[in-house]
Every structure is written in C-alpha cells, then in structure tokens.
C-alpha cells in the first residue's frame, strides 16, 4: 500500500505543478487583453488623471510578475480580489454560485453514472441485439443534440405541456431539499442525457474488448451464466477506462454547464462566468478559470487513483 500512497502523492505533485502553469497562463492572458482593470472600472468617464489615480490605488503600476505573485498568494488562501463591477469580494460572489453548480453536477452524476454503467453492462450482455442498437441510437441522439435544444424539448414536454416540473430553476434559501430536487430536475435530466452516452459506450466497449480473453472463455467453460460472466469476470477488469471516462464527464458536468444554466436560469458558476466576461470583470473570470482547471486536475487525479485501486497487480504487489 505504501507504493500506492507514493504514487498518489507523486500525481498530486504533478497536478499542483500543472495548476501553477495554468495560473500563469490565466493571469498573463488577461494581462495581454487591451486595456486594464482601471479602464474597465471607469469606463466611458475615464480621464487620464483619475485613471492614473485609480491605477496607483489598485497597485496596477507594479510590474506584472509582482502582481501575479500577489494574486497567486491571495488565490491560495481563497482571496481572488474584488469584483470590478460591484466592488464586492470575488470569493463571496462566486462561492454560492459554485456550490449551486456542484449540487447540480452531483444531482446529475448520481443518476447518470449508475444508469450509464448498468445500461453499458446490459448492452454488452445483449450485444448486437435490437435492444443494443436502440440503446446506442438513443444515447447517440441525445449526445449529438445541443444541450439547449434538449433543455427546451424537456421544458416543452415536462413543463409547458404537462406542468410536472418548473421551467425555471430559481432557488431560494428556505426551500426544502425535496423542493430543491424537484425544481432542479429538468437541468439535471438534461445533463444526464448529455453525459450518459459517452459513459455507457465506454462501459460496453471496455467489457466487449475483454470477452475474447482466455479467462472469459474459462469462466464460460466453468458453466458460469452469461450475466455473471460479464458482471463478475469482465467488469472488474474493465474499470480503468470506464473510470477515466466517468472523471471526464464529471468534469464536464462542472465546467461545461453554461448553456444549461442559461436555459433554466440556474444561478451557477457558468452564468457568473458569462456575466463577468461580458462586463470585463477580470478578477471573476480569473477565479472561475482557476476553479475549473483545479476541478479537471482533481477529477483526473481521482480517476488515476481509481484505476490503480481497481488493478489487483498494483493493489497486491508480488
């Protein structure tokens, strides 16, 4: 087990280095944009004098790398500076948004991951049958349709025509958990439809890939029923690729939900990012980008660890 801990720490170290490089890119890409924060704040009413004064006040006259380290130092302890537009602290502005996004992602993941894997196992078992083809066509259709289109279709049928779920996912602090689940069901369902196909197809492919293995034939020749051959003998050896695809899709649930949040007017971090970009609110843009990057890195790390833990050769060294 010591080896595994070492391996995890090593990956974590690489993850941190990657994050550092990304932070440099994020900071200096914003630096490269024409104009600076002072111009953005003052907008049309800027005069050379008050621009100079504001730059002095915000410390914009310091060299870029000094400001980078100040920004990085703040980011490490969760201080991303103040919003240019409202003047409020960035951390307070986006924390709640980020939690909302995490909630929606978790909601979708809790449904989508077990559903996709179960479906993947079933289509692997019933491979090349009508059920397999239908499942493939349906999931491919849902992944190929734009999210906003899926979202509007769901709104049309589940909200406008039947009124089962609200079309707008506005949240209030005093809502009960059940109410919350009900209100956010449509965006969650949209996300489920988007991510299921990828995970299901990888599960199917990873299992079928193993069916030609001698140990699968051995299991069959021991009289093991077909479903057990798949679940007990193929699936445990198929986890590594499946876990990687799950991690990718979870990352997508957090970082790729902008359109879905806009369609359902859901107060998540994607919306915050879009607003900030249109208002040139750079501190928020930088904070969001860094959070997204950290999410990707963490989830990939989790996938690596998961792949290691499901590999008996690594779990039980000679």
């Amino acid at each position: 087990m010591g080896d595994i801990l070492g391996l995890v720490l090593k990956r974590l170290g690489f993850g941190l280095i990657t994050l550092l490089i990304i932070s440099i890119i994020i900071f200096f890409m914003v630096e490269l944009l024409p104009g600076d924060i002072a111009e953005a704040v003052l907008g049309q009413g800027a005069t050379p004098e008050n621009l100079a004064a504001l730059r002095e006040e915000m410390g914009l006259n310091k060299p870029a790398f000094v400001r980078y380290f100040e920004w990085l130092g703040g980011a490490v302890v969760g201080d991303f500076g103040n919003s240019v537009v409202s003047g409020e602290r960035v951390s307070t502005l986006i924390t709640e948004r980020f939690i909302n996004t995490l909630f929606l992602a978790a909601y979708a993941a809790v449904i989508a991951v077990p559903f996709a894997i179960t479906l993947g196992v079933i289509v692997a078992l019933l491979r090349n049958t009508l059920f397999d083809r239908v499942a493939n066509v349906l999931t491919l259709t849902s992944i190929s349709s734009p999210e906003f289109f899926l979202g509007y279709i769901l709104i049309l049928y589940l909200s406008v025509k039947t009124g089962m779920f609200p079309a707008i996912s506005s949240l209030r602090a005093d809502m009960s958990f059940a109410d919350l689940l009900h209100r956010t069901f449509l965006p969650a369902l949209t996300l489920v439809l988007v991510v299921t196909a990828h995970m299901m197809r990888m599960t199917r492919a990873a299992i079928i890939n193993l069916l030609a293995s001698p140990y699968i034939e051995m299991a069959r020749l021991k009289g093991t029923p077909p479903w057990k051959v798949i679940v007990k003998h193929a699936l445990p050896n198929a986890w590594a690729p499946i876990i990687n695809v799950i991690a990718l899709n979870l990352a997508y649930l957090i970082t790729g939900v902008v359109l879905v949040e806009v369609v359902f007017v859901y107060p998540g971090i994607g919306q915050a990012l879009v607003d900030a970009v249109s208002k040139r609110d750079f501190p928020i843009v930088q904070a969001c980008c860094l959070i997204f990057a950290a999410t990707f890195i963490l989830l990939n790390l989790a996938a690596d660890v998961g792949a290691i833990l499901t590999n008996p050769r690594l779990r039980h060294p000679k």
Binding site: A212, Y215, E217, M218, L221, K222, G223, T224
Partner: protein, 550 residues
C-alpha cells in the same frame, strides 16, 4: 479397486464450421471419438488440425465464430449435447466436464483470488458450502504438491508462478470431481523443468479419481507419457488412432511417420577455429532494468564467425536480456560487448550504421514482429534500402533475391501482406528481413517455439543452409533442447542471470554436467511411454517440486 470402464463420451461424424467473414468453411470434417470412463486419449496434430475445436465440442461448446453442423452427434453419458438446450449444456460445464487451458496465467481472472475462482463452480452448482469448498481446494492443492496449500489459494494469479498456476488450474478443474477433463496444451507454455511437475500432478490426479481425459498437445513425447490411446489429426480429419505403445512403435500412416521422424534432424557440429578473434564477445556483463535487481550477473561468452551458439535456460534466466544488451537496446551496468575485438557502444543510438547492420534479430512471434498493413516487398525492402542505399530496380532485384534465398517464390509473395501467410512463411519473411541488412551475426530468439514441429524443422534447415552459404554466426536463444541438439555448435547454459556452464555441444550432451544442466537435460520428455515414471522414480516423487526450484 475396480474402475467402471463404460463409454462416457461418444462423438459421431463431428463437423464444425468456422466463419471467415464471408463464408462458413469446414474446420472439422467428420471425426468420430469414443472415450471410456477413466481413459486418457491424446489428440495430436499440427496447429490448424482442429484439436482444440474438438476439445471444446466435447463440452458442447462452439467458440465464437464457429458452429457445430447439424447431424453431428456428441453423446455424453447418455445425453445428446447437440440437441440439448444451452442451459442443459451449461449445467454440465464445470460440474461434469471441466477444462484446463493452455495458459493458466491468461486463463485465471486477474481480478479475483485463485481460491475464489476455484470455488466458483461448486458454489454455483450448490455442491458445497463456501468453507467446505475452500477446504476441498486446499486438499487438492496439497495433492497437486503446491507449496503452502493452505495459503496459496488466497493469492492473486499474478502472485503465483506459471507452473503453480497450471497446477492450480488442474485443481480447479477437479473442484466438482468431473467425469471428464479436457486438457488443452496444459504444459506448452511451461519450461521443461516445470512441465514435469505439472505432468506428474495431472497423471496422479486423473488416476486417483478415475477421471477420463482428452489430452490435447502437439508434443508427441508429452502425449506418450499421458495417454492410453493416441488419435492423430490432420486438417480436421482423423489420420489414425491406436493404443499409445503401438502408435509409438508402429505408426501406420505416412503422416504419422513423418511426425515421428521430425526430431531426427541434426547437422554436423563445427568447432572453433584456433586463434581467431571472436565475432562477438560478451565480456563480464551485468545488467538490470530500471531500478530492479540484477538480471544479468557477470555474463561472458564468445561467438565465432559462421558458428551457432545456443543459449539455453528457463524463462527468467536472462537469455533475452543478453540479446538486448548485445543489440544495444539495454545498456549494461557493467562489462562490454566486443565486435571483432572492437568494443561496441553500449547504446544502439551511439552505434554506427555499419555496426547496427552487422547484428540483426529474428523474433519468436512472427505474427507480431511483422506489420500486418505493410507489403512483403516493403518489409524486406526497407532494411535493404536503409543499410545498402538501394532503390528502384536494384531494390526490386534484391528483394527477389532475398525471397529466393528463403525459398518463397518472389512472383507470388512480392505484393502480399503478412496476414495472408502461414506461420512458417511469416517466420521466413522475418529471416529475409534480417538478411536484407547483410549481417554477419543474427540473434534468433525462440524462432521455432511458436511453430509446429514439421514447420520448425523446415526453418532450422533453412537457417543451416543460409549459415553455410553466407557464413553467418547465430546466437540461438531457446528453451527447447531438441533444437539445440539439431543446430548448435556450442552451448551456453544460463540460470538466474549467470552462465552456469558453456562448451561445445557434444561435450554438453555427455556427462558429467553441472547439476542444473543435468536437470534441464533429464527433464526433456522422451518418446518412451515409461520415461516419466522412470524419471520420477529416479528423482524420488516427493522431490519433483524441489528439484525444479533449484
């Protein structure tokens, strides 16, 4: 004890077809087989003879892409398998008919402990409770002389050696005390020393439980030890069937006779010219893979121009690593390799084109060593182009010449792709590719071990002819001592990364030997059906395992 000798399995007019992607072609063309309780029948033949397919069919099982043709009869203990439902057939597998596969390492599921795989069938069929089944497994492990029988089952397959896994698989086949076991080349992937333990274990256990068995192999000497009767197959048809002793002493058919004769090829031994600088000289080489233990420890030997040095030893003894050091794929941590007295740079990247040209390799698996998407002309042409700078018609002539050298008709093979070729033909292409560089030295890494004996003999004869015509030196890596006997001039015996003995072949095959050489030599199966019994008596049965662990 009187054993029941009634008929257990009766196969009549078995026909099986395989799907080629376009049409169904016959694989088995009407084979009959009768097996009595407690009888062991050996099925032998070259690859493609249909041995394994018949073995699977005896379980009512058709592999993916094959089907049993209507009209075939497979009657197992009064039950007709071809008309039974899939459920009925499945209920026999593992419980009344069990299967032991060629590679235990690949046939145990890497994700589960050995004992959990062992107890799967008894638990599935509700023959035993988990505790009982585990105790029974330990009992079988003990009967099969596995070390630590109480503990070994709780390991994962990768934590156990190949020979032990093969015995664990035999134990697994025994878990429900079946009436019939299909052994599908159970020792082909093992070293000779390990093979003995497994053969002895299988014979014992089959005897103890009066289990009938179909023993599939291409190794005649092995089948001679195991079977009561032998059936010879060729291209899906029976050639002949006889009791073992008669089959060995007096084969009737020409094909059987040719199989028997294979082991007779032996070319005259050459001896080292006096005072000549060796072509290749491996000097005191140590090597290890990144961060690992020493894989080679002080290895030294010479190879002279035009001579064949066979490097023998069990898997893991460092034979292939030595080849990697000579070719510069693995720089040694100590020592050096000389070519005609000049030291070679340790890394192939630092060697000159001429140095690279001089040493070529031929690989064990011609299947994976040739790019399936590249035409033969290009596979052979590229090294000719790279090393000799040939192009256009010159290159074409050179490729034709090389194809002639390996006895393949250029007009037929020039434009073909590797997958269209047979195993022996592919290996010939591998040889031509090595020759294209015009080397003076070729490393042959187990080049015949994946081939049938008749085909392998053809390859050995070809290599011998090429050696005489082109004055080549060979380093012949092999674990097959029959190959050594037929082609080597000198022999280097390796064990645990060290050279334990080396010298001219005739000296190596006459006593006294180093104890390890002795163990290797005495472990090679012989055609005498009593060979195993005699050998086990000599060694003392209980010492089989220990002897092999030396």
């Amino acid at each position: 004890m009187v054993h029941d000798k009634s008929v257990l399995l009766e196969i009549k007019d078995l026909r099986i077809e395989g799907y080629t992607g376009e049409v169904w072609v016959p694989i088995i063309k009407g084979v009959d087989l009768t097996l009595h309780r407690g009888e062991v029948m050996g099925l032998i033949g070259e690859s493609g003879a249909g041995k394994s397919t018949i073995g699977a069919a005896a379980m009512g099982y058709a592999r993916d892409g094959t089907r049993i043709v209507e009209g075939s009869k497979i009657e197992f203990d009064g039950m007709e398998l071809t008309t039974a439902t899939e459920g009925e057939r499945r209920a026999l597998r593992g419980s009344r008919i069990a299967y032991v596969a060629q590679s235990a390492a690949a046939s145990f599921n890497p994700a589960h402990k050995i004992i959990d795989q062992h107890t799967e069938a008894p638990l599935h069929y509700r023959i035993q409770k988990r505790m009982e089944a585990q105790e029974d497994a330990m009992d079988l492990y003990e009967r099969l002389r596995l070390p630590n029988p109480k503990e070994i089952g709780f390991r994962y397959p990768h934590q156990v050696s190949g020979g032990q896994l093969q015995r664990a698989m035999t134990a697994m086949a025994m878990s429900c005390r079946p009436d019939l076991i299909i052994f599908d080349e159970p020792t082909t992937a093992l070293d000779v020393t390990t093979q003995i333990e497994v053969l002895a274990a299988i014979r014992d256990i089959v005897d103890q439980f009066n289990t009938a068995a179909i023993y599939i192999t291409h190794d005649l000497a092995v089948v001679a030890q195991m079977a009561d009767t032998i059936k010879v197959l060729l291209k899906g048809e029976e050639v002949e069937q006889q009791p073992t002793e008669e089959m060995l002493d007096n084969p009737q058919e020409d094909y059987t006779k040719s199989l028997w004769a294979v082991r007779s090829f032996e070319r005259p031994q050459k001896s080292r010219p006096e005072g000549e600088t060796p072509l290749i000289s491996v000097q005191d080489v140590d090597a290890s893979y990144t961060g690992g233990d020493k894989v080679l420890d002080g290895v030294s030997f010479d190879i002279h121009k035009g001579m064949t040095v066979a490097v023998v030893g069990e898997s893991g003894s460092g034979k292939s690593t030595t080849a990697r050091v000579i070719t510069g794929l693995l720089p040694p941590s100590n020592g050096q390799v000389l070519f005609q007295g000049e030291p070679l740079p340790p890394r192939y990247q630092d060697r000159t084109k001429d140095q690279l040209r001089q040493a070529q390799m031929i690989y064990q698996m011609a299947d994976t060593a040739l790019n399936p998407k590249v035409r033969i002309s290009e596979i052979i042409g590229r090294p000719a182009q790279f090393y000799s700078g040939l192009s256009g018609t010159e290159l074409k002539h050179r490729v034709d010449e090389l194809l002639d050298l390996i006895e393949l008709d250029p007009s037929k093979f020039y434009n073909r792709y590797p997958p269209e070729l047979s195993g022996g033909q592919k290996q010939r292409i591998g040889i031509a590719r090595a020759l294209a560089a015009e080397p003076s030295f070729i490393i042959c890494d187990e080049v015949t071990s994946a081939l049938d004996q008749l085909v392998a003999e053809g390859i050995l004869k070809l290599l011998d002819r090429l050696q005489n015509e082109l004055d080549l030196a060979y380093m012949f890596i092999t674990h097959d001592l029959a190959t050594v006997r037929s082609i080597a001039d000198e022999v280097v015996v390796m064990q645990h990364g060290k050279v334990v003995e080396q010298g001219p072949k005739d000296k190596m095959f006459t006593p006294p030997h180093h104890p390890y050489t002795d163990l290797l030599l005495s472990s090679v199966p012989e055609m005498d059906p009593n060979w195993l019994t005699t050998l086990l008596e000599e060694r003392g049965v209980d010492n089989v395992g220990e002897a092999a662990d030396v």
